[in-house]
């Protein structure tokens, strides 16, 4: 029994990281149908800038806040300098631009922060919490709470606020959205700012557990993307559950089957789900009027 609890703890810890990244994908995707592959770099920057500011002597909460604000500003800059000039290009071209931005951010981070691996202290210490013979780190609870909070905020934003609906409308039909008076440029800028902020928050929460280096972004982006696809791209509920599901499948496979098959089993599950539910578990059904 204690083994099972430990596997579940391991699963939710990993899953919380995936979910935080997956949630970051949803806003930009909802606003523009673009999958932002630089999302992982936002996570990396969140951790790196926090480490940098904390190392420079700032208290951790202030360092984290600076990291989130700076990353968010970078998201805006990325939209203004790379995405907006290419407006009107097909979605695939925009996705490729985000890959380019990701490589650029990675290269710059390597120059600014160096190639070393970094970390900063956990928020509530490193003493594990014992539950039924298993242990979980307090930082894991922070990550899970962070993922839930972001989910809740996103869900409220998209379903309860006018601005959130404006974002959805922009994705649906940019021209029609403009015609009803939505400032679509502002919506795009906002979506990049929010996505980058969520990514950075993920980095701030996860770094004490996962550690960080200039190259960690791609790994985060791929696993988070898998989580988002499994749950249904663009749906915060899907991103949250998709991320946690992949984490749990990996941990349970590693625990009960073999760690050699951990990634393979997770991958097979994703393929099966997408085969039977191409929109993911909670994806919106698209119907085109002909």
């Amino acid at each position: 029994m204690s083994e099972l609890i430990q596997f579940l703890f391991s699963g939710v810890t990993v899953g919380a990281v995936y979910a935080l990244v997956a949630l970051g994908f949803t806003i930009i995707y909802n606003a523009s149908d673009v999958v932002n592959f630089a999302q992982g770099e936002f996570v990396m920057l969140g951790g790196m800038i926090t480490w940098f500011a904390h190392e420079a002597g700032l208290p951790l909460p202030l360092a984290a806040l600076i990291a989130i604000v700076l990353t968010s500003a970078l998201g805006v800059a990325m939209n203004k300098l790379a995405i907006e000039p290419a407006r009107g290009a097909p979605v695939v071209s925009l996705i490729i631009i985000t890959i380019g931005a990701s490589i650029f951010i990675q290269g710059t981070a390597q120059l600014v922060f160096g190639k070393q691996i970094h970390t900063f202290p956990a928020f509530s210490g490193d003493t594990p919490i014992h539950v039924g013979g298993a242990t979980i780190l307090p930082q894991s609870l922070w990550m899970i709470a962070g993922a839930l909070a972001v989910f809740l905020a996103l869900w409220l934003f998209f379903s309860r606020t006018l601005l959130g609906r404006a974002v959805m409308a922009t994705a649906n039909n940019r021209l029609a959205a403009q015609l009803v008076g939505i400032n679509t440029n502002f919506v795009m800028t906002l979506s990049f700012a929010l996505s980058a902020a969520i990514g950075a928050l993920g980095g701030v929460l996860a770094t004490p557990v996962t550690l960080t280096a200039y190259g960690v972004g791609i790994g985060f982006a791929l696993k988070g993307f898998a989580g988002a696809m499994l749950g249904g791209m663009g749906n915060p509920k899907g991103a949250l559950l998709g991320g946690f599901l992949i984490g749990l499948i990996e941990a349970l496979t590693a625990g009960y089957l073999s760690s050699q098959y951990k990634d393979a089993v997770a991958f097979v599950v994703i393929l099966l789900v997408l085969f039977f539910l191409p929109q993911g578990l909670f994806g919106r059904k698209t119907t085109d009027r002909v």
Binding site: E3, I117, P128, T135, L137, V209, V216, A254
Partner: protein, 379 residues
């Protein structure tokens, strides 16, 4: 004579004059950036520093040494291109480099074809086994790492071992070598787990090992970020099975990242460079180790790493061989490298022969133990 003709004529004169300048051209391709950047960066810095040092002392046999250095970013294809360029365009007499096993394998193929001596800085035993005429290497092999660990386990009376390895090249190769030498050394592998280098939690695998009957010690072939995360997970679970890390984590960074408490009592095979201050005064490696450490840390204000030490030893072996060689030509240099005997570097004492292009034995590894956040000698 028109100005154009004058320029062309001038160029011809220059071109004719170039080979007359006495200089020895050495080539290097290391992974100063990219996934192996943490390894290749100190290697590049070390080579540049040593070239400066040698030329400051008047070069080798009175001839200036020039270094042509390329950054292959850990990409075997780029490494192959750079090796070709070094040989054909830069006309070097020898190549040092190949930070990773993959880039080393690319370079050695080109170097062997052209008959240019190549000193690799990568770990895998495949680089020099079977022996290739022009290829040598400076680091220990991962097989030696396993043997050193198992020898210590034998001494402590352990026979049942769990392996938990990362799935990257380093981890997978060392895991295979450990499984290969385990039966020879009377070790039984009772658990065999892996993790992805990008994983952020390995408590599931460790829980499984903890639940396995009779595990007396754990070996972790892995390095970098994931090895530090694994050490934290091990401590999080409150495990007390003796833990052996690999030589891949032999740097202060590992202790700092994992936290001194997490890695207390961990043992691993490492080089003399890490414990320079602890070496006995009569130790043959002490002069080389302390000199390199002082020079590198004085110049770059960052701690020395084992990897920079590999580059130091590669350059030391090469400059020693060029000084002894009958001519500064590739074939003569190759013969001189193979005749290297008892040359003490930071990694170990090198003695090459026609059948051994690794040149090190197990004594090159020191068994280290982490105590109070610092390295100590366990032997």
């Amino acid at each position: 004579m028109t100005p154009t003709k004058a320029i062309i004529a001038g160029l011809f004169v220059l071109a004719g004059a170039l080979p007359a300048v006495a200089e020895i051209r050495i080539g290097a391709s290391v992974s100063a950036t990219g996934p192996a950047g943490a390894l290749g960066d100190p290697e590049a810095k070390t080579l540049e520093m040593l070239i400066e040092e040698v030329n400051g002392k008047g070069g080798i046999n009175g001839e200036t040494v020039t270094l042509v250095l390329y950054d292959d970013a850990g990409d075997p294809n780029k490494a192959r291109t750079f090796a070709t360029r070094l040989i054909e365009d830069d006309e070097v007499v020898a190549i040092i480099g190949g930070t990773t096993t993959g880039t080393s394998m690319s370079i050695l193929a080109v170097a062997e074809d052209a008959g240019i001596p190549f000193i690799s800085l990568a770990g895998a035993i495949d680089i020099i086994d079977p022996v290739k005429p022009y290829t040598f290497k400076t680091p220990h092999t991962d097989r030696m790492g396993c043997q050193k660990i198992f020898a210590d386990m034998q001494a402590r009376g352990f026979a049942k071992v769990a392996i938990i390895a990362s799935t990257d090249g380093f981890g997978a190769s060392m895991q295979a070598q450990c499984k290969l030498v385990a039966p020879e050394m009377g070790m039984e592998i009772v658990a065999d787990e892996t993790y992805d280098p990008k994983d952020s939690d390995m408590t599931a695998q460790l829980t499984k090992i903890r639940g396995t009957e009779g595990v007396q010690a754990i070996v972790n072939p892995g390095f970098g970020q994931s090895a530090a995360v694994l050490a934290r997970n091990y401590r999080q679970l409150g495990m007390d099975i003796p833990f052996y890390a690999s030589h891949g984590v032999a740097s202060q960074g590992y202790i700092d990242l994992a936290g001194a408490e997490a890695v207390e009592g961990f043992r691993l095979p490492g080089t003399a460079l890490l414990v320079a201050e602890l070496l006995a005064d009569g130790d043959v490696q002490k002069p080389a180790v302390t000199a390199y450490k002082a020079a590198f840390e004085g110049k770059f204000a960052t701690p020395v790493s084992t990897f920079g030490g590999y580059a130091h030893d590669g350059f030391m072996i090469l400059s020693d061989a060029i000084a002894r060689a009958t001519a500064a030509e590739p074939a003569a240099i190759r013969d001189a490298i193979e005749a290297t005997t008892g040359l003490a570097g930071t990694t170990g004492v090198y003695t090459y022969s026609a059948t051994d292009h690794l040149g090190l034995d197990l004594s090159a590894f020191r068994l280290l133990e982490i105590r109070g956040g610092a390295w100590t000698l366990a032997e």
